[in-house]
């Protein structure tokens, strides 16, 4: 490790931000895993977005069943073969990817926003509010996540007042997972944001701003938030991977996205019964989940390396 690599300390305000980001980008590029991951994720996103157009181009369907073509090996028409209902496997993987990635992003963002808000308020105001919020957070951390997710996934929405029509629609099953994951997975971000807020709160530029009579909201939004944004970004990135794994586990247990809407998670669950018959059907979605999550994790790691050089070499 060389001393010259150390970045200059963060300054308040935005004047020096351009060169900071350029520096960070440079450091990011040094991390081999990070760059590779970025490429991989971009490819995956393209892969999933291309689902519709590619289907029409190839003339196949993720939904159309064809009982005469079950378990077919890869061919010119079906590039990865067919599944147990004769549907095109590749098309299903692409569609499934859309759902799995969307769930990952949305649940992360929603839960993350909640966590950031909580952590910010706790760290900034301190005192009783901090105490109360942190007790609440600690309480949530104490809960066994997976069983809780199962219980949340199992409840009957009609008993909560939703009409049976809405409660059992496919879009509800999609949003339900997002909501329940977001409900439980914000604690790490909340703690992180609180700790960061505490350290930034006492900086001169914040004190100066307060002395100048700025309101709390303005201080939090304009001064504190931009300076704690980097650990937040890293935390968000790492959460996405965790959330995608959650979705796959929930689908495995039967509380995730419900078929026939494909998601990598429920495709894996489906293929589980067929693992001795058509192992490829189990390998593909599992592999895609694996690649996505590992790429996301490497990305997060690279960002951490880029943003905070003291965290590691």
């Amino acid at each position: 490790m060389s001393l010259a690599e150390k970045a200059p300390p963060l300054a308040g305000g935005r004047a020096a931000s351009d060169s900071i980001w350029a520096l960070r980008w440079k450091r990011f590029r040094q991390h081999r895993g990070g760059v590779a991951s970025l490429v991989v994720l971009a490819l995956l996103a393209a892969f999933c977005l291309a689902a519709g157009p590619l289907e029409t181009l190839r003339g196949v369907d993720a939904v159309q069943t064809d009982l005469f073509k079950r378990y077919e090996p890869p061919s010119a028409e079906h590039w990865l073969g067919t599944d147990d209902a004769g549907r095109d496997e590749l098309a299903r993987l692409m569609r499934g990817g859309q759902i799995s990635l969307l769930v990952g992003l949305l649940a992360t963002v929603i839960g993350g926003v909640f966590g950031v808000t909580l952590g910010l308020l706790a760290g900034y105001f301190g005192g009783r509010l901090d105490s109360a919020l942190m007790r609440f957070t600690d309480g949530m951390i104490a809960l066994p996540l997976l069983p809780l997710l199962i219980v949340l996934g199992a409840i009957d929405l009609t008993k909560l007042g939703f009409s049976p029509d809405t409660a059992h629609s496919p879009s509800m099953s999609f949003w339900r997972i997002i909501v329940i994951i977001a409900l439980v997975d914000w604690t790490a971000i909340a703690r992180l944001v609180r700790a960061s807020t505490l350290s930034v709160k006492e900086r001169e530029f914040v004190l100066a701003s307060r002395a100048g009579g700025a309101g709390h909201l303005h201080i939090m939004a304009a001064h504190i938030l931009p300076n704690i944004i980097t650990p937040i970004i890293v935390a968000f990135t790492l959460t996405v991977g965790r959330v995608i794994l959650f979705e796959s586990v929930l689908s495995f247990l039967g509380f995730g996205v419900t078929p026939p809407t494909p998601s990598w998670g429920n495709m894996l669950n489906n293929a589980q019964e067929l693992v001795t018959v058509a192992p490829a059907l189990a390998i593909y979605p599992g592999l895609l989940i694996f690649i996505t999550v590992i790429a996301v994790n490497f990305l997060g790691d690279a960002m951490q390396h880029a943003f905070d050089p003291r965290s590691e070499e």
Binding site: D138, A142, P147, D156
Partner: protein, 317 residues
Amino acid sequence: MTAYLVWRLIQTAVVLLVMSFVIYGLIGLMPGDPVDIMAASIPGMTPEVMANLKAIYGLDQPLMTRYARWLMAALGGDFGYSRTHSLPVLQVLAPALLQTCKLMVASFVLSVILSMALGLISALRPGGWVDSIISLFAFAGISVPVFWLALILILAFAVGLQWLPASGMGRVGDYGFWDQTRHLVLPVLTLTLANTGQFTRYVRAAMIETLQMDFVRTARAKGAAPSRVVFVHALRNAMVPVVTIMALSFGTLFSGALVTETMFAQMGMGKMIYDSILSNDFNLALTGLLFATLVTLIANFAADIAYALLDPRITLQ
């Protein structure tokens, strides 16, 4: 110190109480009265019989009444009767707890040892090719879906190579120490592989940070042998965040084992909780979930204590 302990104890009790209420409410929101489900498969179950059974199982009362009754009984040590096992709840949970402990302790110990070793090795030469391989392995561990891993292992070792049993806790007629150990190998392996990755990363990060600290560089500059520096100073200081993370993970290991237990037909707490939720066995689900919460709370508490003991700079408030 005692004041802190008492305070934590109170906090634990409060969390458990709140949790019990929340879970009871959530379970109450689940569909399908168990008696109604029974009726679907029993021809000739008349409405009178259904009403009778609902009264017997206490299902005809409002949620708050049922919760209050449960709470009163629980505080007196009676956690109720499991409908799906036809036994008192504690009698069902006790052996399940033992089984989960075997699984968790074994995989926890193995993960710790493995991750300490791997983290240490990779921290010695960060950026080197050994480090890269270990990091890749660590990342793989935290990225792989556990049930997929379990399936692959079953296929490889039980079906393919036929070295190990595919599931269960013991062979009938045997159940001796070696037999049970054989049956634990694959599940423990699955859990270990999944957890070592996470621990390794933390150990590595903590070790690297410690190795860069001033006092380490000073010791090195003074000419102390590298190995002494590493093991005596760095390890001790790296332990602090590591112990915290590990203790915190112990609680989640508990529920993470749920998937492993299901795949390998191990009658552990995780699987017990899952099964009971699915079959609307209220008493069992509730008690099991509360127990899991208690374990996590205790683990967190232990982590905080260990944290304070290891790092004299920290004082508990």
